[in-house]
Amino acid sequence: MEKILVGLKRVVDYNVRVRVKSDGSGVETDGVKMSINPFDEIALEEALRIRERGEAAEVIVISMGSSDAQQQLRTGLAMGADRAILVETPEGIDPLSRARALLKIIERESPDLVLLGKQAIDDDNNQTGQMLAALWGRPQATFASKIGTAGDTATVTREVDAGLETIEIDLPAVITTDLRLNEPRYVKLPDIMKAKKKPLDTLSVEDLSIDPAPVLEETAYAPPEQRARGIMVDDVAGLVAALKDKGLI
């Protein structure tokens, strides 16, 4: 395999407890810690391992978003990616347009494998990989917990509701990662220095001339209904009594 393309989305770090702005106009993202989407870190780790096994020559990371996403791309380069592409887009570009933009990059780069996360933990959409595979007319293997490559095919184990499903797909293809695929490596300081010299190309989404997609309008944001703190019981007898009280046993 020649090239693997990996999507890295810049998202609010998973440890941040996100709050809705008091006027309901969005969520509070000012000053909060931003990171690589955790699933994308796993995707990159997997790409690096495939390259380190000698089964791929080059790993390219790509992010779509504001110029701030350079930070996440630099982290990706420090983890070991060979080069990076930033596609500058307006705030909140929709998943279909993202998939169309990725397809344009695929047309330029001809990767053998595209590795994305199964979902971005901000919008929780879980769409981009499937959409990209559809537009590309290629196989998809979503929610991967194990990936093996052999020549022109990949064998992927997927975490599905019923258990573990294994499928075989022809390459090129899109694979999206689940959490148990691997544990991403830590970035070491010397790698951060080295990463500064690696190439990072910037394009604007207009350069890619993608068709405009029908966009879903987000009209209001609200906090979820809160569950109230209930009662504490002292012992098992108290628990059984409380359950009886509620008619649950």
């Binding site: 769409q127 975490e159 019923a162």
Partner: protein, 313 residues
């Protein structure tokens, strides 16, 4: 009239309850006429179950050996062909629907609404974002098809008892050969299914081994409950992945949920916020799980759980 097509989820023999939950959501769309599409090798048994769902006006079956397994790349072009006659195309936000529906949306040239939790108008819906920390209202454009997944934990299943007509249809869509099913490993169990069980007992990292998880199974069996787990317990290999509850596992809404030795991380809570009653057993009185528990008990699970099992049997 709004023409709604639901894609049936099934295992070849039995309709998954997620379809009856989607039917409940579809019925909230103003003047909906609901049809169900069944893709299978031999669809008749599943079609009969779908035809029985309240509110379903018609069932379309597409019989094809290629449809023996639910491969998104195989099903999507067929579903797109059927979608020509519909305004809405809905699937469940189970791993089946999450895999398939965005592929369909992209082929139809539209964005997808993921995880509908309520229908607010013909084109307006609510859905959770940021692991359920915010609920956003989205409105789809009027002049395109609407493709969406339904957050099944937000809906109860419609009843069964009707009998809608079943129509076999031929589709011309070219079926790709680039994606091939190899195998499905399922932990076969006689316990109630996690996603539909009225009671669920879940264990966390505190169980510390798969042997120790036995006390969770014993309690669950005493209560007739399904069994779940936190991600930490799955990652550590105490239980298989299909038992994970949470943002990236299963989103469930049992009447009664017992969280045992689970701290209550936001990603876990996302999976249980629609539960009727949450019981937490944890030795740390500061554990965040107690902030959402209806009944909390501070104690060592290795004493409490056997005692509770005893008290309930």
């Amino acid at each position: 009239m709004a023409k709604v097509l639901l894609v049936a989820e099934h295992d070849g023999d039995t309709l998954n309850p997620s379809t009856a939950k989607c039917a409940r959501c579809a019925a909230d769309i103003e003047s909906a006429e609901i049809h169900v599409a069944v893709f299978a090798e031999e669809p008749s048994a599943v079609a009969a179950q779908a035809a029985a769902l309240d509110g379903v006006a018609k069932v379309l079956t597409v019989a094809n050996a290629a449809n023996a397994r639910p491969l998104a790349a195989v099903m999507a072009p067929q579903l797109v062909e059927l979608a020509a006659d519909y305004d809405y195309v809905l699937g469940p936000s189970t791993t089946f629907g999450k895999d398939l529906m965005p592929r369909v949306a992209a082929l139809l040239g539209v964005n997808q609404i993921s995880d509908i939790m309520s229908v607010e108008g013909p084109l307006t819906f609510k859905r959770p974002i940021y692991a359920g920390n915010a609920i956003v209202t989205v409105t789809a454009p009027a002049d395109s098809k609407l493709v969406a997944t339904v957050r099944t934990a937000s809906y109860s299943a419609v009843a069964s008892g009707d009998s809608a007509p079943v129509e076999s249809v031929d589709v011309e869509a070219e079926i790709p050969g680039h994606t091939r099913f190899v195998e499905l490993q399922t932990g076969s169990s006689d316990r109630p299914d996690l996603q539909t069980a009225a009671r669920v007992v879940s264990g966390g990292r505190a169980l510390a081994s798969s042997e120790n998880f036995d006390i969770i199974y014993k309690l669950a069996d005493t209560m007739g409950a399904g069994v779940g787990a936190s991600r930490a317990a799955v990652d550590a290999g105490y239980v298989p992945n299909e038992m994970q509850v949470g943002q990236t596992g299963k989103i469930i809404a049992p009447d009664l949920y017992l969280a045992i030795g689970i701290s209550g991380a936001i990603q876990h809570l996302t999976g249980i916020k629609d539960a009727g009653t949450i019981v937490a057993i944890n030795k740390d009185e500061e554990a965040p799980i107690f902030e959402v528990a209806d009944i909390g008990l501070v104690g060592d699970l290795f004493n409490v759980v056997p005692e509770l099992t005893e008290a309930l049997s």
